[in-house]
């Protein structure tokens, strides 16, 4: 028993030492303009540490989440999964609605609330999505996106244990969304109510399995075809976040149309803007 305790302590220390030793990516020399531009653009100073956490997350995913998501796909027919997805989306209405308003998107907040009313009633507690048929399509918002709209930069790339890719802005957003959510509020304010707690836990687990099931094919394909899975996930996370922030118009009307520079000009040391890193703007 005692030996076990010592073992776990030792493991923890080894992990902490490994993480702190791995430290930071080396910043290139100031004279190397291109290398420095690239370093700033990748914006991942904690890369060595992030890679370790990414590997741990992947191991956990392979052992637990992915098999569970695969099992969920096997035992449920597609309409049931669609129903679960609709139900969970409907439950997140308060977060979407609050962030629509915080971003000043009045029309979209109207869509969100109309969807909620229609889907909760005609759609039987949100299991069905008749609102989409009425030309009220679903959209996602969160506080990370709100902060971006308010002009706050994303900061360096972060790989969070268990939660996956993020950055200081999106992490702050995630925490804020927990407070915005009325379900969490009612759980913390009725701490004797086990049913509420249980419902909250079920929702979280179901949310994770549902999200992972939807990603099964994409992630499986990326894992097999990429030669640097970490770098692929890093760029895809940023690109899809920017797409969400701009509500789907990122490649058309923002500055990153200039990025297709073919290096025809030998004197052209201007590194094309690859990802819209908010910090650089």
């Amino acid at each position: 028993m005692r030996e076990n305790k010592i073992k776990t302590h030792a493991m923890c220390y080894i992990l902490i030492i490994a993480l702190s030793m791995s430290g930071c990516a080396t910043r290139p020399n100031d004279n190397n303009i291109e290398a420095l531009a690239e370093y700033k653009q990748i914006n991942d100073p904690l890369e060595p540490t992030n890679r370790i956490i990414f590997a741990l997350n992947n191991t956990l995913d392979n052992l637990i989440l992915e098999p569970v998501a695969k099992g969920y796909r096997v035992i449920t027919p597609s309409p049931v999964r669609k129903g679960v997805d609709n139900f969970l989306k409907n439950l997140s209405t308060p977060i979407i609605f609050a962030n629509d308003l915080l971003q000043g998107e009045l029309k979209r907040s109207g869509t969100t609330i109309s969807r909620f009313v229609i889907n909760t009633t005609i759609g039987i507690l949100g299991v069905f999505d008749p609102a989409s048929e009425f030309d009220l399509p679903y959209h996602h918002e969160d506080f990370g996106q709100t902060l971006a709209v308010w002009g706050i930069g994303e900061g360096p790339y972060l790989m969070l244990p268990f939660l996956g890719p993020s950055n200081p802005r999106d992490l702050t957003g995630k925490i804020a969304d927990i407070f915005i959510d009325p379900m969490n509020y009612s759980i913390t304010h009725n701490d004797n109510n086990d049913d509420l707690k249980c419902a909250g836990t079920v929702r979280s687990i179901l949310g994770a399995v549902n999200a992972r099931e939807k990603m099964l094919d994409t992630l499986d394909d990326l894992k097999k075809s990429s030669i640097d899975y970490y770098a692929t996930i890093r760029t895809l996370y940023r690109q899809s976040r920017n797409n969400e922030i701009d509500n789907g118009l990122s490649t058309l009307i923002n500055g990153n149309m200039n990025d297709f520079d073919f290096y025809d000009n030998e004197n052209d040391f201007d590194f094309p803007n690859d990802e819209t890193t908010m910090t650089e703007e």
């Binding site: 029309k107 979209r108 030669i227 701009d246 009307i253 094309p272």
Partner: protein, 263 residues
């Protein structure tokens, strides 16, 4: 059962609160709908057509040409590659042909390698383009299983700020119960017509993703572009012969054994 009940209780309580709020909100939003929402909905409510700003470089005729090019390309893909009636082996050959005739590989390769393109030797550039296109064809051909029944519809054209380039926007309809996917094609006007240089699926660019990945591989391999070519080549071998990975590692272990014997 208790759980289900509690879930329903929570839901109904939330519903009642929200519906009362909703009435107020829908009425307020309808009051301010026209003037304010125009200001507030900076991007979301505008259609792509509104961004078709006057371009000195392109005229309407050329917009049409680019759109026709993508329509033609996607029709060929849908009827040829995605169709279930065509044999697997023939699909890859068809895609190979489509890829080599409609993608500007040189431009894509330059973009993907970025600053490393300039540093690479002529041989490295040629070898990279060859391995890169073979691998891209292999990976994409693998993805086409299960795409049967989709249809592609172009929805508009926008000029790029880059010389000679346009974006063609299209919607991929996946059929019943699935959300359409927005795909933007970055095309470049060449002497022999339009060529694709990037495919942007729901805001994620293929070219940028490759560029970020390859850049990282070049840096970590420590052997420049040649290091990247080696890794791409071994990935390609792995796809062409799924057992080669196992045999390669076997060979390694054999080598170690023999070297031990030698010593």
């Amino acid at each position: 059962m208790r759980l289900l009940l509690s879930a329903i209780v929570i839901l109904t309580s939330v519903t009642t609160i929200k519906t009362s709020n909703a009435d107020i909100l829908t009425s307020t939003s309808s009051l301010v709908a026209t003037p304010v929402s125009d200001i507030c909905n900076k991007t979301s409510s505008k259609s792509i057509a509104e961004y078709q700003v006057a371009s000195t470089e392109f005229d309407k005729e050329q917009f049409k040409e680019a759109e026709d090019f993508i329509n033609d390309l996607s029709t060929k893909a849908v009827t040829g590659i995605f169709s279930q009636s065509i044999v697997e082996a023939k699909k890859e050959a068809l895609f190979h042909e489509l890829f080599s005739t409609s993608v500007d590989l040189d431009a894509l390769g330059r973009f993907v390698l970025g600053r490393y393109w300039k540093a690479a030797t002529h041989q490295e550039k040629q070898k990279f383009l060859q391995v890169f296109s073979n691998l891209t064809i292999k990976t994409w051909a693998r993805r086409f299983n299960g795409y049967a029944g989709i249809s592609v519809k172009t929805t508009g054209v926008v000029p790029s700020k880059n010389k000679g380039q346009l974006f063609v926007e299209s919607k991929i309809l996946q059929g019943e119960g699935k959300d359409p996917i927005i795909v933007r094609w970055r095309v470049i006007k060449k002497q022999d017509g339009y060529k694709v240089i990037d495919i942007i699926v729901e805001g994620s660019s293929m070219a940028r993703t490759y560029r970020n990945e390859y850049r990282s591989v070049i840096k970590n391999s420590g052997k420049g572009v040649q290091g990247l070519i080696d890794i791409l080549q071994s990935k390609l071998n792995e796809f062409e012969n799924p057992e080669s990975k196992a045999t390669a590692s076997d060979e390694k272990s054999v080598k170690i054994k023999t070297s031990k014997k030698d010593s």
